[in-house]
């Protein structure tokens, strides 16, 4: 995948993205991303929305249809597909964990987690750390086939360690590159690489 396609691919994952955000998940330098997005905007393949960019519908379709060529090797690789199956297994547990993080059980009823119970929060962050340890070998297997995915692994560890240090918004806050945000975007990237659909 060339730099320009990669910049558009990163924007597709972000949906609404700025060059810094796209650079962060693709590993491209920010100014390179900005140059490509601006060029794509000139060509009508990307729309500007304030500081952010959105892929134009036709560009989104041509990006999608190019994937089978861009990622032919990965899609044909049995090891990559097995690693993805194991990623899905961890993904199910991450989703459950995020729900547990946002709710708490009180006498059999589920209420929103008001973060009044520090032990409850700490126990879930501990579980997230445990899950991360199980995810690491799976991520390494994926990275072996798509080396640029390593940026996600680094961001996951960074978010995890911030949460462990008490900045609990790094667990699931949708407005920052929290553990859940990074995980979600990595999942989106993998779905695109392998041409799969998200199951809710």
């Amino acid at each position: 995948m060339n730099e320009q396609t990669l910049a558009l691919h990163g924007l597709a994952i972000k949906k609404h993205g700025d060059p810094a955000g796209v650079a962060q998940i693709t590993g491209l330098p920010e100014e390179v991303v900005k140059r490509h997005l601006d060029a794509a905007a000139e060509a009508g393949r990307v729309n500007r929305a304030g500081e952010k960019y959105i892929l134009a519908p036709t560009a989104a379709i041509s990006l999608q249809s190019g994937y089978s060529r861009d990622f032919a090797e990965q899609r044909a690789n049995a090891e990559m597909n097995r690693a993805y199956t194991d990623f899905e297994a961890v993904n199910d547990q991450i989703k459950q964990l995020i729900t547990d993080w946002q709710t708490m059980e009180v006498g059999g009823e589920r209420l929103p987690n008001d973060h009044s119970d520090k032990d409850h929060d700490a126990a879930i962050i501990d579980r997230l750390g445990d899950l991360h340890e199980k995810a690491e070998p799976v991520l390494d297997r994926l990275i072996a086939h798509v080396p640029r995915l390593k940026v996600y692994k680094d961001m996951l560890l960074q978010a995890l360690e911030r949460a462990e240090d008490g900045a609990i918004e790094w667990v699931s806050d949708a407005r920052i590159m929290s553990y859940h945000t990074v995980w979600f975007e990595l999942h989106e990237d993998l779905l695109r690489i392998l041409g799969k659909e998200r199951v809710e």
């Binding site: 609404h16 009180v106 929103p112 340890e133 199980k134 699931s172």
Partner: protein, 593 residues
């Protein structure tokens, strides 16, 4: 055998040092010391772990001591480890003196193997259950000791096929005998002391690396032995309402997981009075003893095995906001705790949730319900249904109240969700994107209303109640509860006002002053920016104040007073800041003296 050097039996009236046996073993020992019925246990001490860490191998004599400990558990329970006819199964738990992330989790059902599966099945008259215990042991061992995901152990399998699966997925083999598996688990606990998270946590908190962790080995009890067996949870007071009356659930012929799984409906705990009266009486006594000893409402897990009560765990109960208020104020009146402690037990967020707007009484009954889904994030949202996130953002920017209705949401809807008064979806449950993100944003949300139910309502004015999962036609009347109308809240307010180092007024009662409105200045929602924004002001108002950080900033900026409604969350946050400050001063004085 000589006096044990590396292990300790958790028995008798003396409480061993927490540094030696770890937190979990200490709470077992404490319950035993209070005379409460707890399954017998012994502990591999932190001293053994420290020796292991220094030497890189097990201390001499540890294996023999563990064997002796297991023999003692066999004696106490009348059961045998690794053999029938009545097999002994144990749990293995790590426990550092200071609880720490990254330590190995609990392994259950240690001792199950082909022979003991058959014996347990015969004893319970339920071979399928024994088989499942065996299967779940593989699950846990793979998950916790071998840290492996994706290994499936189907019920149709047996020990041989499961062991083969495990070898294939993890690349490692499970030891043959129950004794070797027990040893391997204890070894894994020792090793977890030097995992990434544990090391990092110790460094961050200045905890020495050579404290070591203990390992508790405890006999397991079974709630599905016969009709006089069961398992349940008891709260020493009602955790929903706060009423001073034990509240709990009991499921006869069941194990702990059955209660949690939701597959069976537990009965009120009072049903035990009929079926297992002695165990019920013992449970009520234990509840009173534990609440008094710990000075707070307890959440007690228990099992009844062949009519005999065993306590598994007791801890301070989580409670709903209403219960937190009632329990805190009542316990002060009972003389159990001081007002200062009561203020620490109710958070500003709990009070804010309690005083959040809700539908006026009778409104829901009068209104037409358009659809119902799963309640995913509480709050009332009233506005016009919009089915597109860009449109939602645009119309909200023009001052219109909008409700975002989507089949499902994805990250590209974030800007629409931020702009909406509520988010409603047709597909997905409590783990769907809409539910997860709405809770994070504090936006009311109802999910899974059914295909065609909400996106077909574009342009209609609706009221969404995120606490009940209902969406109504039209704009219903909502109200915020009155913080002065309820006696417990009023009482809490008096204590909080006395402890809060700064004045708090409602907008009407506030004196004249130079007031900063944080909701109207850029960055006013960010606690980190408050010190700069508050500098030089006499008073302030705005949503960001109702937290410890917010009130801390107001107090540090030497404001004369703050303004808000309701005032109680502000007062509570201020009182907490005041207390933390006093604690520091006391420590400082003590250090000087």
């Amino acid at each position: 055998m000589a006096d044990p050097r590396w292990t300790l039996r958790l028995d008798g009236p003396d409480l061993p040092d927490k540094a030696l046996i770890g937190g979990k073993a200490w709470s077992i020992a404490r319950m035993r010391a209070l005379g409460l019925p707890v399954p017998p246990a012994f502990v591999v001490t932190t001293r053994a772990c420290v020796e292991f860490l220094g030497k890189g191998d097990w201390p001499d004599g540890l294996a023999e001591e563990i064997d002796a400990g297991m023999a003692w558990l066999e004696e106490e329970t009348g059961r045998r480890f690794g053999h029938g006819p009545q097999p002994l199964l144990v749990s293995v738990r790590s426990g550092a003196p200071i609880s720490m992330p990254g330590m190995m989790d609990t392994i259950l059902n240690m001792g199950i193997c082909a022979e003991t599966e058959a014996a347990l099945g015969a004893e319970m008259g339920d071979p399928a259950f024994a088989h499942d215990v065996h299967r779940r042991f593989y699950d846990l061992y793979a998950d916790i000791v071998l840290k492996c995901v994706g290994a499936e152990f189907p019920a149709e399998g047996d020990a041989d096929s499961w062991a083969a699966t495990l070898r294939e997925t993890s690349g490692r083999a499970i030891p043959e005998t129950p004794r070797d598996r027990l040893f391997a688990s204890i070894d894994a606990v020792f090793h977890s002391w030097n995992g990434r998270r544990a090391k990092r946590y110790r460094k961050h908190h200045g905890i020495p690396d050579d404290l070591g962790t203990a390992v508790a080995v405890q006999a397991m009890v079974f709630g599905n032995m016969d009709a006089a067996s069961g398992t349940g949870v008891l709260f020493s007071r009602n955790p929903i309402t706060g009423e001073r009356k034990p509240y709990g659930e009991y499921l006869a012929r069941a194990q702990g997981e059955d209660v949690v799984s939701g597959k069976f409906t537990p009965q009120p705990v009072e049903t035990m009075r009929e079926t297992v009266p002695a165990a019920f009486d013992a449970l009520m006594r234990a509840s009173a003893v534990l609440e008094e000893a710990n000075g707070d409402v307890q959440d007690i897990e228990f099992t009844v095995q062949k009519g005999e009560l065993f306590l598994l765990q007791s801890r301070a109960a989580k409670r709903a906001p209403a219960a937190a208020v009632r329990i805190a104020t009542e316990m002060v009146r009972e003389g159990v705790i001081t007002p200062e402690v009561a203020l620490r037990r109710v958070t500003p967020d709990q009070v804010r949730l309690l005083l959040a707007p809700r539908l006026k009484p009778g409104e829901a009954e009068r209104a037409d319900m358009l659809c119902q889904g799963e309640a995913a994030s509480p709050g009332i949202g009233i506005g016009t249904v919009v089915t597109d996130s860009d449109e939602a953002e645009r119309r909200a920017a023009l001052g219109e109240d909008v409700i975002l209705a989507r089949v499902t949401t994805s990250p590209e809807d974030l800007h629409g969700m931020l702009a909406a008064r509520a988010v409603i979806t047709e597909k997905g449950g409590s783990t769907s994107h809409a539910a997860v993100v709405s809770r994070a944003l504090g936006v009311a949300c109802v999910v899974g209303c059914g295909l065609g139910s909400v996106t077909g309502q574009a342009g209609r004015t609706v009221t969404a109640d995120g606490a009940t999962g209902r969406v109504y036609d039209g704009a219903l009347a909502a109200e915020a509860p009155d913080e002065d109308a309820e006696a417990d809240l009023a009482q809490l307010k008096d204590w909080a006002a006395a402890a809060c180092p700064i004045g708090v007024f409602t907008p009407e009662a506030a004196p004249e002053a130079r007031i900063v409105d944080l909701n109207a200045v850029e960055g006013g929602e960010d606690p980190a920016k408050l010190p700069a924004l508050l500098a030089g002001a006499e008073a302030a108002t705005g949503g960001a104040l109702a937290s410890e950080e917010g009130m801390g900033a107001a107090i540090a900026a030497k404001l004369r007073f703050v303004i808000g409604r309701p005032v109680l969350p502000l007062l509570l946050a201020g009182a907490r800041v005041g207390q933390a400050h006093e604690d520091r001063e006391t420590v400082a004085v003590a250090a000087q003296g």
